[in-house]
Amino acid sequence: MEVRKPHIKSIPYEEWNDNASLEKIIDELHEGGVNVVTGSLDQLINWGRSNSLWSLTFATSCCGIEFMACGCARYDFARFGFEVTRNSPRQADLIMCAGTITHKMAPALKRLYDEMAEPKYVIAVGGCAISGGPFKSSYHVVQGIEEIVPVDVFIPGCPPRPEAIMYGMMQLQRKVKIEKFFGGANHKQTAEEAALGVSNEELTFRSKHNDHRREPIVVTSVPEEFANELKENKEEKA
């Protein structure tokens, strides 16, 4: 079995000091009949993650039927590992937003997105989810779900064919594959970026969405009553 050269973008192979000793250990293990593969853990995890993307069944209209067709015998997206759909946002990796989002539905979509665990993705399927589509001039339709949640992949069509939906899912796979699951940098951060002390993913998210919700919560002061109570407790104990 061949040893795979560890490929880590941020740290070139040559920059490792003790490659020789590592490779020696592996050789010894191989001689002893132990199967060892070296690589980055991120690669392994992302391989697994990208091939088991579980989507939340969130179909509001026509596109949902095409999504169902994707799951059935002819198109069968189980080939790519997408066949598990979840009805609970807690168990889902992505929202497949298939259909129009109206003003009355918008809070529900937002809430479902907030309920999902990180890392999470959104795919906007069809014209309605992208921009309001044929219902753009309606008084009760959201002009694209990007107003509410950040979207990773757009799949145009009215409705998109199952082939298109699967192509869109595969684009999301590509996106998942270059992620750093344990944080860290996909590119070397500049001095300014490094000073912020957050991951690359976070940086791109902030620049894209300018979203204050993801700022860390820093507690600067304590309510007076609470402080007094603490003090009293201490005194009592003393």
Binding site: T60, S61, C72, K104, K110
Partner: protein
């Protein structure tokens, strides 16, 4: 049908409507159309009624009376129970208060929505909020006191110790974004309040600013499984208004396409019933064969799910050279397959135990709640529009109207199965005899419909689907309103499910075939 309106005085309205039902036998309220008739007449309603014995139809126009600054009309919800939701819809869109209606809440829009959008003078700002909607836990009832001034009282929806759960809007078994607020006593359902509007796209309002050919595109996106029939009703009403005579070829092709669409929808229906009850195999079988139906339609229309095939005066294009052969192959292939669904799922003892006596509704209630389509036919109501008000080729081919008498979910499933055979029969009789001729009767570049009101209905996949058109002679409609198939079905959930178990709600919901974008429009 060109509408000739009856009209009654305000004070005698409730009594005259009762007379229409009791003495003249108009026991089926097809729909209530709210309308802003303009500055002179103000707001009002159009009621379309049918006598279920001789299938005669009539329509009543009632203008609202302004009392204390509010437009009011006496309710008919105590005469025809289906009017419950229909009147709430009119209140939501036009702000007409129905005197004596026990539950005047908004039906489609949020409670904090400003104004009533279908009034001609309404202007919106297209803003929305991401805050949860605050819902009242009471319904308003309005009435006139002895002096003739408007009074109101609150009717509570729940008692303080009721256990209320929400099923939906995001729930896998509601087939979309329907929300059923269910009052429970242990496992037993005490009351079901449907909340609609999560996919309300205001198609009817958009139509008022569109030219007639533009209006067509939106109907396919209502019940996407009945795209052909919906468009059929819309082009039908416009063609009737303009007095267009279609060639036989158009009629033949439209009938065949409608039936192919019905097969498509019923196949998905049988799949979904199986899936909702946890029989995933049953679903995969149905979906497999549905692809064959889609293939046949796609080769002619170019669309997979949404075809955009009919247009005013005919069809977008002639049929594909292979269409006849493909159809014949399909019929040959599909006939034995339907038995397969029965073998896998329909005749299964678990299915029978699960669906029999589930969500029962008697014939009288079905008519009263206007439960049309296969759901009504499962209670023995002969309500098929194709038989009662034949259009296109339906009176020239031999086929049977499928009715059963079980009144429950099992028979609703079986009616769908039987109807698939009938659809195949209809296609078989027509496919060899498609006459030569034009597939399109040439129209003027700008289509205008003369003044008048029309109502045209077809048998949709889950009930009667109709379109009401009020034209003032312009190139866009003054008011166009659909009779959705699902709205009355949703209104019937409450009487069907009272006293049943909560799990039966899912089974009933699956077996009654609702598609939410069709209800909300």
């Amino acid at each position: 049908m060109k509408l000739e309106f009856l009209s009654f005085e305000f004070d005698k309205f409730a009594k005259e409507m009762q007379n229409l039902k009791d003495k003249k036998g108009f026991d089926y309220l097809v729909t209530i159309v709210g309308e802003d008739f303009g500055a002179e007449e103000g707001l009002g309603c159009v009621y379309i009624l049918e006598n279920t014995k001789n299938h005669e139809r009539c329509s009543v126009k009632m203008l609202a009376k302004v009392v204390d600054g509010e437009s009011v009309i006496p309710t008919v919800s105590n005469i025809w129970r289906v009017a419950d939701l229909l009147e709430r819809e009119v209140f939501d869109f036009y702000g007409i208060l129905f005197l004596g209606h026990p539950d005047m809440r908004r039906l489609f829009l949020r409670n904090d929505f400003k104004g009533h959008p279908f009034r001609k003078d309404w202007k919106g700002d297209n803003k929305y909020s991401l805050e949860e909607d605050v819902e009242p836990d009471f319904g308003m009832e309005y009435y006139l006191d002895k002096d003739g001034s408007l009074k109101s009282k609150q009717n509570p929806l729940f008692t303080s110790d009721d256990y209320v759960i929400n099923i939906g809007p995001q729930h896998p078994a509601t087939h979309g974004v329907l929300r059923l607020q269910t009052v429970l006593d242990g496992e037993t359902v005490k009351r079901v309040y449907p909340h609609l509007g999560y996919i309300h796209r205001a198609i009817e309002k958009m139509w008022e600013n569109m030219t007639y050919p533009q209006t067509l595109a939106l109907t396919d996106r209502l019940n996407y499984l009945g795209a052909m029939q919906h468009r059929h009703a819309l082009v039908g009403v416009i063609e009737e208004g303009m007095g267009i005579e279609l060639t036989d070829r158009i009629k033949y092709i439209r009938t065949i396409m409608d039936e192919l669409q019905r097969l498509d929808s019923h196949l998905l229906y049988t799949s979904c019933v199986a899936q909702d009850l946890g029989a995933l195999t049953g679903m995969l079988y149905g979906m497999r064969d549905r692809e064959h139906v889609l293939n046949v339609m796609e080769e002619t229309t170019g669309g997979r799910l949404i075809q955009n095939y009919y247009r005013i005066g005919g069809l977008q294009d002639d049929i594909d050279p292979n269409f006849v052969k493909n159809c014949k192959d399909l019929v040959k292939y599909l006939r034995p397959m339907i038995q397969e669904y029965m073998d896998v799922f329909g005749d299964n003892v678990i299915t029978h135990n699960r669906l029999e006596q589930c969500g029962p509704m008697s014939l009288e209630d079905c008519i009263n709640y206007a439960v049309t389509g296969p759901a009504g036919r499962a209670s023995g109501w002969k309500n098929d529009v194709r038989k009662n008000h034949p259009y296109d080729m339906y009176d020239k081919v031999e086929w049977e109207q499928c009715t059963l008498t079980g009144c429950d979910s099992m028979d609703r499933y079986l009616v769908h199965i039987n109807e698939m055979y009938q659809s195949l029969n209809i296609i078989e009789q027509l496919i060899d005899n498609i006459p030569e001729g034009d597939f399109y009767v040439k129209q003027k570049p700008i289509i205008k419909v003369p003044e008048g009101q029309w109502y045209y209905s077809v048998e949709g996949v889950a009930g009667e689907f109709g379109v009401y058109l009020d034209s003032r002679g312009d190139k866009s409609p003054y008011r166009m309103k659909m009779r959705p198939m699902g709205l009355s079905l949703v209104g019937a959930f409450d009487p069907m499910l009272r006293g049943q178990k909560i799990a039966d709600l899912i089974a009933t919901c699956a077996a009654i075939d609702v598609v939410i974008p069709d209800i909300d429009r």
